[in-house]
Homo-oligomer: 193 residues x 2
């Protein structure tokens, strides 16, 4: 069976995710990674392949941990409109949480790499599509309950909400100020009336 691993894959992957989330892909060196992950270069390459594949694993991990928690608010039972409200409320909370990197790893990756790296574009696109689908379900639910005008295009609304979430992430990076973000969210939610 050989020598046992001295670290848990998910633990060090979570640390790698935070490094990429903070510094982006290109500005993150393997030295940064091993220092923060607390493992050696060899272990990194044995476990994750190379820097690029580690980055992809980090995006997937982000999707599983961070995005999933946001999306869960949309699937909450009850009012679809309240669910969307909760989504953006949580998004603002997360965005100003000093314990986390600012912004969003998916948004950052889209801006930094999506037009140049196909692997990143695929992964980012999949997450955004998943978010759009979550919004779509919530919108349809709200329309069925009469909370949102049924005449409105749910697909367009879902895309708008997805785009709005991305915009919020960008704004949070430059203006990490709750008042600014809440101003924006107020108007986003007003759209649903």
């Amino acid at each position: 069976m050989g020598r046992p691993r001295e670290f848990e894959r998910d633990v060090v992957l979570d640390r790698a995710m935070r490094v990429f989330w903070t510094r982006g892909y290109e500005a993150t060196s393997v030295q940064h990674l091993v220092a923060r992950m607390g493992i050696q270069r060899g272990s990194l390459y044995d476990t994750f392949g190379d820097k690029r594949r580690l980055f992809f694993a980090a995006i997937d991990h982000y999707d599983r941990v961070v995005t999933a928690k946001l999306l869960a608010t949309l699937e909450a039972p009850g009012s679809g409109r309240d669910a969307i409200r909760q989504f953006f409320r949580l998004k603002v909370d997360v965005s100003v949480d000093p314990g986390r990197p600012r912004g969003c790893l998916v948004t950052n990756s889209a801006a930094e790499l999506a037009s140049r790296d196909r692997g990143t574009a695929t992964r980012v696109g999949a997450v955004l599509t998943k978010i759009e689908a979550g919004f779509h379900r919530a919108v349809v639910r709200a329309q069925r309950a009469g909370e949102i005008d049924r005449a409105r295009n749910p697909r367009a609304l879902a895309r708008f909400l997805t785009s709005s979430a991305q915009g919020l992430s960008v704004m949070a990076k430059t203006f990490p100020d709750r008042a600014v973000l809440e101003d924006i969210v107020k108007v986003i939610l007003a759209v649903l009336e």
Copy 2:
């Protein structure tokens, strides 16, 4: 008076801007820059100082050329609401123009560097503030003309529109598809009714 310069500063700066716009800051090497700018390393360092200062000059150039053209739509005489409509119409056109890099240099820089580099954060913040001010003026104009409900908070609306423009830029990087972007813009503009 010495030997005359063999290139025009603005011409090579425009080329540098496109390189940063396409590849981002970190992924752009000085080799990339001199190759695309058509000048030698020495000339680059003599004229622009170093890579970082060239990047700042590129952001300023982007502000002067690209953003200014977008902002000009907001200052057009007549309806404030039409002006905002025109802004986003132009934004979509620019976003799907195959002759340009996808997305927006300011959005990309915000996502890649704003939380880590103060100089970038300052410049990006200044541009975003300028955009917000333009939206604010247009909203107030529209409110005075009765096109937008006067009870609504113009500052919040301006911030929302600024954030929406950032969101569009991010979406354009992953989904460079006119139909998607127009769906989003349709809802953004519906907010103003």
